[in-house]
């Protein structure tokens, strides 16, 4: 899930109106109500099966010592796969690399998009609309399709394997969506609150820092989490722009379990996958909490 993904936030939902509908006044059912109810739950059960089945392997084989890729007899539960994975070069170093990449990108995106969103939200500028359209347009561009020239430029400038350059590139690809979200959140802060500060002689940077930013903390948290999680899960960009194994984030180092034809430690791969996935899941749960109720598009992310 690279940059462009969760634009579900496009869909604005007025929660005050939705609650009435959500309580179930409208739904698909026929005169023969019970039959239809049973068949709906039957279809939902099939859907659940489709979504759960592929997850079984990862959960079962992570607790199975010496797991093969199939989960034939996961009767012996053990934590040995987790114990074998938790060492410096397999787990902690890639973890720190992932934290550095995701963390710095998130901080940079938040800081730069705060300053970029402010004039878009507050001033009437001549090219404002054109600029907004360009931002939304760029959120849709396929990043995969610029990786070849990006690699060429990085190689030419001797920046392959260079963390600051990689972080700046990840920031650039996350910015269009970040700016757009930030502007949306900022529009929710009334200008009146700032006017008092302006009267007292505050600059726009001052009022942004002391009034606007604190008031939109939940929004900033959502953008931070979103950027962090999408860099955390990004495989392709670091896979292309990094070559030294000790610099790989978890997304890339996970491939080391997956040798070409050699013996593959599937149990350890599964254990690593779980340790790598849990932070991403946790962050999304937190983000959903932040979004609930307070913002108009909360309906779009209700779980």
């Amino acid at each position: 899930m690279t940059s462009a993904l969760p634009v579900e936030l496009n869909v604005q939902v007025d929660t005050s109106r939705t609650t009435a509908v959500r309580s179930g006044r409208f739904r698909i059912d026929s005169p023969r109500k019970t039959m239809s109810t049973i068949s709906v739950y039957f279809v939902l059960a099939l859907v659940a099966l489709f979504f759960i089945a592929p997850l079984l392997w990862i959960v079962l084989s992570s607790f199975e010592p010496g797991a093969a890729i199939g989960t034939n007899a996961p009767l012996v539960l053990s934590l040995s796969n987790f114990a074998n994975v938790l060492n410096w070069s397999t787990f902690f170093q890639p973890l720190i690399n992932s934290l550095i990449l995701s963390g710095s990108t998130a901080v940079l995106v938040v800081l730069t998009s705060l300053f970029a969103a402010y004039p878009l939200s507050r001033y009437q500028m001549r090219y404002r609309k054109a600029f907004l359209y360009t931002i939304i347009f760029s959120t849709g561009l396929p990043i995969t399709a610029i990786m070849v020239p990006v690699y060429e430029l990085f190689a030419r400038a001797n920046l392959v394997d260079n963390y600051p350059a990689l972080i700046l590139f990840l920031t650039a690809t996350s910015l269009p969506f970040g700016i757009w979200l930030m502007k949306g959140f900022m529009d929710g802060v009334p200008v009146d609150l700032e006017q008092a500060a302006w009267v007292d002689g505050a600059t726009w940077v001052g009022s942004l820092r002391t009034i606007v930013a604190p008031l939109m903390m939940p929004g900033i948290a959502v953008i931070t989490i979103f950027t962090f999680a999408s860099v955390w899960g990004n495989f392709f960009v670091p896979f292309i722009l990094l070559t030294t194994q000790s610099k790989f984030p978890m997304a890339v180092s996970i491939g080391t379990f997956f040798g070409q034809y050699g013996a593959v430690e599937y149990g350890q791969l599964a254990a690593f996958s779980i340790l790598y996935t849990l932070p991403a899941l946790g962050l999304w749960v937190v983000a959903a909490r932040f979004l609930r109720g307070k913002f108009t598009f909360a309906g779009a992310t209700k779980g």
Partner: protein
């Protein structure tokens, strides 16, 4: 605004402009083209449209996008959103949890899950083996495998968009249609779908853009194989540029993919009203 603009210009606009230049040279990572790249005009583009593998990759990409996004994620997401309305809260919350999990987990982990599921000797094989359907699904049906895996991966997004869209429908209208004796199908076809046209278009464009550039899932599951049976354009670009080191040809193909993406992105912003979004 300056820092954001300069970062975006340097790292997004820069490479795009650069790829236009590279695409007209014979730049390569090894051989003659490595040291002395020359201007070669439209050679790369002529080559591209005479390259049966590139044409095939476009076709496979179209099948992949149509099958997994436009038909798969879109329909399944709409269906789930519709069926879940007004149903038991515990059931829908639990189900949505699993669907969201598939979407929120890192793509490479999702790919491994499906690899383990479909591989010969994998989970599905263990189930179907009793029926005599024992086989390596990644080898016998590679396109179907990546399409279904991608439906699994991305349905959550369509479901979120549609359940938000459905909650936004004016319930008076639905009640009125029911009172008038509209059948379920008529209600869906003549009231719900027309009212949600904008949500549907926005969703279609976004999932198309996302699926068009899909790399990781296919790379792990089939790596484009067996042979070129599932070699979509991003996979083919990767092979040409990074495994065969033909950077200029890769850049030229990137431009084509980028133009395709830009076209869909333009349709997408047609359906987004900036000022309304800002509200």
């Amino acid at each position: 605004m300056a820092p954001a603009l300069s970062i975006m210009f340097l790292f997004i606009a820069g490479p795009i402009i650069w790829s236009v230049y590279i695409a007209f040279t014979n730049k390569a990572l090894t051989g003659v083209g490595a040291a002395h790249a020359k201007w070669v005009g439209f050679t790369n583009f002529v080559h591209m449209f005479n390259d049966p593998l590139f044409i095939k990759s476009l076709l496979l990409t179209a099948i992949f996008v149509l099958g997994s996004a436009v038909v798969g994620q879109n329909t399944l997401g709409f269906m789930i959103a519709l069926l879940e309305r007004g149903r038991n809260k515990f059931v829908t919350t639990t189900l949505n949890g699993f669907i969201m999990c598939a979407w929120v987990m890192p793509e490479i982990v999702a790919a491994f899950c499906w690899y383990a599921y479909l591989y010969q000797g994998g989970t599905l094989d263990a189930f179907l083996g009793h029926l005599g359907l024992n086989q390596d699904w990644l080898y016998t049906t590679p396109m179907l495998a990546i399409i279904i895996a991608n439906i699994w991966r991305g349905t959550a997004f369509s479901m979120l968009v549609y359940s938000a869209g459905l909650s936004d429908l004016p319930s008076e209208l639905l009640e009125a249609a029911k009172v008038d004796g509209a059948s379920q199908l008529a209600l869906l076809r003549r009231v719900i779908i027309p009212l949600m046209r904008r949500s549907i278009m926005v969703n279609l464009m976004l999932i198309t853009l996302q699926t068009l550039q899909s790399f990781t899932l296919i790379f792990i599951l089939t790596a484009g194989g067996p042979g070129e049976a599932s070699m979509t354009t991003p996979l083919y670009i990767y092979q040409q540029a990074f495994q065969l080191y033909d950077i200029s040809y890769g850049s030229a193909m990137c431009l084509v993919l980028l133009l395709l993406g830009a076209a869909f992105s333009l349709i997408y912003i047609k359906f987004i009203k900036v000022e309304e979004v800002a509200a």
